[in-house]
């Protein structure tokens, strides 16, 4: 298909490189250098999609990120689908596949269009809130329907094959925008030697200079751009980022830049290349040179394809060599837009007329147009456009802005393109991300950035500086200021000369008046993307929404990718007029990150797939894998869960592992337990304060179990601490609590008791810990150690040093299973060799490796708690029946003592930890199940507690559980009931939580 709207020459495109692409299933051709939007226009594609609410046909309206209509789905395969791509920002590449996201079943014959036409009033603003909210339960159904009809794009259902990453950047000066002001600023900063990053969202640097009629130093402006870019590229201290949108301005000059590295190359990134990158930039100074967005005028049927932003017309003509029509009518309230008519004329196309709302415009560009014979209708504006799928005419009439009246019937002009310009809005988004309120400037009829604590400079258009010569000077000055504030010596330079023209002020016209009232006039769109009309905004104010933020939310003005780019000022001007207040009184909505949509891929970076999160392994992991372990995630750790043999499920494996430990000997990798080396003359005193129990008399060579509480008296960690020298201890913590406990010790030492001389150092990773547990553990260990394991010489709760498997070790005789146990600590580098020797020697004892599941069962049989499973941050030691572990007479008021003596903590009916024995030994109480005293009571029942740990497979031969019951310690022998979701009730007896070997005789094994 031929490119019917391609001009014979001109544009920054490479006509020798023809690119095929498809849109909605049809194949087209464009040129390298085109955007998708330019290529679609070149092929005369008018309808790009259907509107969000009224389902009206829509065409390309703008040339930049403010494009409201051409928001497309891109992707040739399922895996490469990307929604929400603005066709104006997508470079054309060979094989590009784009589809409309709006329009169901198709953009040209739209069923929703019937609803839109017939029911013009069917969906007024607030419609969703008013209608679809009731009944609430239907929302899910409605939402599905609305989403389908509105077409918000879709995410791929397959994994994205491309790579996305993040890059951390630091610079002295970050320049946002590479238009004239931005380039000048970058040049100033770069020449001073500062580290500069300059980013621009477009395919190439230059901004407005790329389609400008202006000359700089007598040469086309684009030549100056090329010179500057070449100089910047030659400087090692400058990073240039084209195709990179600065999307967020965060605290302390932290900004995020979304760079599309290969989006212009193809559907997939070339092999080995990153597709998109999110730069996380910390800048000493920021120069915002974000420029302006042109505002359209709001007139009747201003959404029909063939209505465009004036500046966009120039961009398509001059930058892409595309004429988005044949016969142009321009409606303006300012001088600058006249360049569009001149560009159109230069391209050999017909300018039907320029309607200027001002009565006697005499600016230089106006006079130039007049001199070229362009018909100028002053004091007039396009009142309405005609056409359904494409503009076929426009009615221009005389208007009176002050009274908001049409003063003549006007005339219908034959045309296929209506370009409108209602002035320029500085792009204040980034400047207000951190809350700085934009300020209205009547002289430029726009909001400029307000005061803000951020270290930033605004230059050029965003600063309300529009004339090219002024913008260059403002940019350069801003760059100098930013660099010198960042500590660099600026270098003098001369900016190129730009022609300065007589320019007359813009007239404050936003909504063009119509003979009919706004509600009866043809629809006058304010926000095309969200189908917000002038009538809708008036309705919102009539319904009592007076705050601009409320109007926005009620009408959806500035939602979606628009974020107030196109319709914000027009919308609030209409609201202000409707409420009879001034625009500054009305104020603007605030802007939040992100400025344009960012892919999840770029946000996630490389934190995905197998490196999504750190996975921690012990030194013995390879052995566990070799021995068939199933693993469990414990925090970031991978711990062996159980070691199934062929044909075994978890229950069978756990039963076998439990039995092996009780009968002979088992082996557990306990390396993940937190281990903290504590040294210092006040170490003992510190332990006294941090643990609930007493440490004063713990001799060298001994170990003791300790409980830690928070100040509120609630248990938060536990573990065994050994005294290895008079003021040297090794503390163990729970696996999950390791980091938390170390920080807990540090905060008290550093902030409360800096006078206590003690140092804490984590040795969790340094030591590997092998636990041998079971009646044969002594015999087994004896085969690989030189330590005297005699029960008298090496009693329970002591430790010894010696060689195990030829490696120096500290061996602790402590037990978490109730069986005779030894915990062997060795430098982790040597753990594998030691384990292999133990495993070899253990064969004759049926040494059985066991995992966390069996560990949990065996400890529960002994009634040992697991902090975080049997506790939940609301249990005191007494609640856990562990009052024996509380040093009530310690002189210093240790952490938790005051808290656990509060009135509420000493109530007798607190939930207390007890054993639960199902009356039917085959019934398993689900963990977390609620307990009641009377299962026959009516719902809601009075709950008296819940199950914390429960095990069906164990060494006892019957199902058992631990749980908390109100006043449970005084309810021994009583029954509790656990009603289940299926209606059944499990009855259980309250028993001691020590199910196995209550007297601890197993420690005395020979």
């Amino acid at each position: 298909m031929s490119q019917t709207n391609r001009l014979p020459n001109g544009g920054r495109i490479d006509r020798s490189k023809v690119l095929n692409f498809s849109f909605n299933g049809q194949t087209y051709q464009g040129f390298e250098g085109d955007t998708l939007a330019a290529a679609l226009l070149a092929n005369g594609v008018d309808i790009i999609g259907r509107s969000f609410k009224y389902s009206r046909p829509r065409g390309i309206f703008a040339a930049g990120c403010e494009e409201p209509n051409a928001v497309l789905q891109i992707g040739a395969t399922e895996a490469t689908q990307i929604p929400n791509v603005r066709a104006t920002q997508q470079a054309l590449y060979a094989g590009l596949v784009a589809t409309s996201t709006n329009g169901w079943p198709s953009v040209n014959t739209d069923m929703m269009g019937i609803l839109g036409k017939v029911g013009g009033k069917l969906m007024p603003p607030g419609f969703y809130y008013k209608t679809f909210m009731y009944p609430q339960s239907f929302w899910m159904t409605y939402e599905k329907y609305i989403r389908k009809a509105a077409g918000l794009g879709r995410s791929p259902t397959e994994n994205d094959p491309d790579t996305y990453d993040n890059m951390n950047q630091h610079c002295d000066v970050l320049v946002v925008g590479a238009g004239p002001a931005g380039l000048a600023a970058a040049l100033a900063a770069a020449r001073s030697g500062a580290r500069v990053i300059i980013a621009d969202e477009q395919e190439e640097f230059g901004g407005s200079l790329l389609d400008s009629r202006e000359s700089l130093d007598g040469k086309p402006a684009a030549e100056w751009v090329a010179t500057v870019v070449a100089e910047l590229k030659g400087l090692a201290n400058v990073t240039l980022l084209p195709r990179a949108t600065v999307n967020g301005y965060h605290d302390h000059n932290f900004l995020t830049i979304h760079e599309r590295l290969t989006d212009h190359l193809g559907d997939r990134a070339p092999i080995g290349q990153v597709r998109q990158r999110l730069h996380r930039v910390r800048a000493k100074r920021v120069v915002l040179a974000t420029g302006t967005h042109e505002r359209p005028l709001v007139y009747g049927n201003n959404d029909v394809p063939g209505n465009m932003l004036a500046g966009a017309v120039s961009t398509y003509v001059r930058r892409y060599g595309v004429a988005p029509g044949k016969k142009l009518v321009l409606s303006t309230n300012n001088d600058y837009a006249y360049r569009v008519a001149l560009d159109w004329l230069d391209a050999g196309l017909q300018v039907v007329a320029v309607a200027d709302a001002r009565h006697n415009p005499r600016g230089a560009l106006v006079e130039e147009a007049r001199a070229k014979g362009i018909r100028i209708l002053t004091g007039s504006a396009v009142i309405e456009a005609r056409g359904s799928k494409r503009v076929s005419g426009a009615r221009v009439a005389a208007i009176e802005v002050k009274s908001h009246k049409v003063t003549s019937p006007g005339e219908w002009l034959d045309c296929d393109l209506v370009a409108s310009s209602g002035g320029y809005s500085p792009i204040v988004h980034l400047a207000s991300h951190l809350g700085g309120k934009p300020v209205w400037r009547e002289d430029i009829l726009g909001f400029v950035p307000g005061e803000a604590p951020q270290k930033r400079v605004c230059v050029g258009g965003v600063n309300g500086v529009y004339a090219l010569a002024d913008s260059l000077a403002d940019g350069f000055e801003g760059g100098v200021r930013a660099a010198s504030e960042a500590g660099f010596q600026p270098v003098e330079a001369v900016m190129p000369k730009a022609l300065s023209r007589v320019e007359e002020p813009t007239l404050a016209l936003f909504q063009v008046p119509h003979e009919k009232s706004t509600t009866r006039a043809p629809k006058q769109f304010v926000d095309l993307q969200n189908d917000v009309t002038a009538a809708g905004i008036e309705l919102a104010t009539r319904e009592g929404f007076e705050s601009v933020e409320h109007v926005k939310r009620y009408t959806a003005l500035g939602f979606g990718t628009d974020q107030g780019k196109l319709g914000n000022v027009n919308g609030l001007a209409i609201a202000a007029r409707s409420l009879n207040v001034s625009i500054p009184e009305m104020g603007t909505t605030m802007f939040r990150p992100n400025y344009t949509p960012v892919t999840f891929g770029a946000v996630a970076g490389r934190h995905c797939g197998h490196i999504f999160e750190p996975v921690r392994f012990t030194a013995l992991h390879a052995w566990h894998v070799k021995n068939g372990a199933e693993f469990e995630d414990v925090g970031q750790w991978k711990r062996p869960w159980y070691f199934p043999k062929a044909g075994e499920d978890i229950h069978a494996a756990v039963r076998r592992e439990c039995k092996a430990v009780r009968d002979s000997v088992g082996l557990l990798d306990a390396s993940t337990l937190g281990k903290i080396d504590i040294q210092g003359p006040d170490a003992r005193e510190f332990l006294n304060r941090i643990y609930t129990n007493a440490w004063t008399k713990l001799d060298v060579g001994k170990a003791r179990y300790g409980l830690m509480c928070k100040e509120d008296g609630m248990v938060f960690d536990d573990g065994v601490t050994a005294c290895v020298a008079d003021n040297h201890f090794i503390m163990t913590t729970t696996t999950g609590g390791a980091a938390r406990v170390l920080q807990w010790l540090e905060i008290y030492q550093q902030t409360e008791w800096p006078d206590l001389k003690v140092y804490f150092t984590s040795v969790t990773d340094h030591y590997a810990t092998l636990t041998l547990s079971g009646p044969n553990s002594r015999k087994l260990l004896g085969e690989v150690t030189d330590i005297d394991l005699d029960r008298e010489a090496f009693p329970f709760m002591t430790w010894k040093e010696g060689l195990v498997g030829g490696v120096p070790a500290r061996v602790f005789r402590i037990s978490f299973t109730g069986e005779l146990s030894y915990e062997v600590n060795i430098q982790a580098d040597y753990a594998m060799g030691v384990l292999e020797k133990i495993a070899e020697a253990g064969k004759k004892y049926n040494l059985t490796p066991y995992g966390t599941e069996t560990m949990h069962v065996l400890r529960a049989e002994k009634g040992f708690i697991i902090v975080g499973q049997d506790t939940d941050g609301s249990m005191t030691p007494d609640d856990l029946n562990m009052g024996w572990c509380v040093g009530r007479t310690k002189p210093f008021s240790w952490i938790g003592q005051r808290g656990m003596n509060r009135e509420d903590c000493v109530r007798e009916d607190r939930k207390q930890l007890v054993g639960l024995k199902p009356v039917d030994p085959n019934k398993w109480l689900p963990e977390g199940a609620q307990l009641v005293l009377d299962a026959k009571q009516s719902i809601p029942m009075t709950m008296v507690g819940h199950v914390t740990s429960s095990y069906a497979a164990n060494s006892l031969g019957y199902s058992f559980a631990m749980g908390v019951v109100k006043g449970g310690l005084k309810r021994m022998g009583e029954r509790v009931f656990s009603p289940q979701a299926d209606g059944s009730v499990i009855e259980a007896e309250i028993v001691s939580s020590v199910f196995f070997d209550p007297k601890g005789e197993r420690q005395n094994v020979e």
């Binding site: 750190p614 990773d765 340094h766 590997a768």
Partner: protein, 210 residues
């Protein structure tokens, strides 16, 4: 006065030793991959690592360390090397001493002797950490992908060492040469770092050195 339990933790007989990256079998990867890698990785394994705690403001402490090691006690963010040994600042009362394999026990005793009478702590952490050396023209790019710390030469000269966030965990970065950097990694995170660095280096080419 600190009395501490100090013992020779490293076996003196020939037994199996596995560094944190043992499972990656780096030796088998030496010389494999692309011919001109932008990043070359080497595990400087099984070295002696000692954490030294003490009062950095106390001249007696600095003097004691200097006497025992022949290296000045480094100030904030500094790394001092002498031969195969190095000492770096970790915090106002914390330093990391790295010595050749097996020397840590003797060095600890020497330090304790030199610092006798002071409130100090020395902890052998050799089994818990390892050094990864990264060399090459693209190491800085890999670091920029991984840490929010500014690794530009103007901010990170040779001889600087910082503890910081790296990908989703933490480690210490040391700059030991123009294009040479070291990462002090924790054993349990070693595999994560290995996977992360392979991925981050992929576009520049990764080589392995023995």
């Amino acid at each position: 006065m600190t009395t501490a339990n100090v013992y020779q933790q490293r076996p003196t007989t020939d037994v199996k030793a596995e560094s944190p990256l043992f499972h990656a079998d780096l030796n088998s990867l030496v010389g494999k991959g692309c011919t001109n890698p932008g990043v070359v990785l080497r595990e400087k394994k099984l070295l002696g690592h000692l954490t030294i705690r003490g009062n950095g403001h106390d001249p007696a402490f600095a003097a004691g360390v200097h006497n025992a090691l022949g290296m000045e006690l480094p100030g904030a963010l500094a790394l001092v090397s002498k031969g195969d040994s190095s000492i770096q600042w970790l915090g106002p009362d914390e330093w990391l001493l790295i010595v050749p394999t097996g020397e840590e026990f003797a060095v600890e005793q020497k330090l304790r002797e030199a610092l006798d009478g002071q409130h100090i702590a020395i902890v052998n952490v050799s089994g818990g950490q390892s050094l990864l050396e990264l060399t090459g023209p693209n190491v800085r790019d890999v670091l920029m992908k991984s840490t929010s710390y500014d690794v530009h030469p103007s901010n990170f000269p040779v001889g600087k060492a910082v503890g910081t966030v790296f990908a989703k965990s933490q480690l210490v970065i040391r700059r030991t040469g123009e294009e040479t950097w070291e990462l002090v990694i924790r054993r349990s995170f070693a595999d994560y770092w290995w996977l992360w660095l392979q991925d981050a280096s992929a576009e520049y080419g990764l080589g392995i050195a023995a």
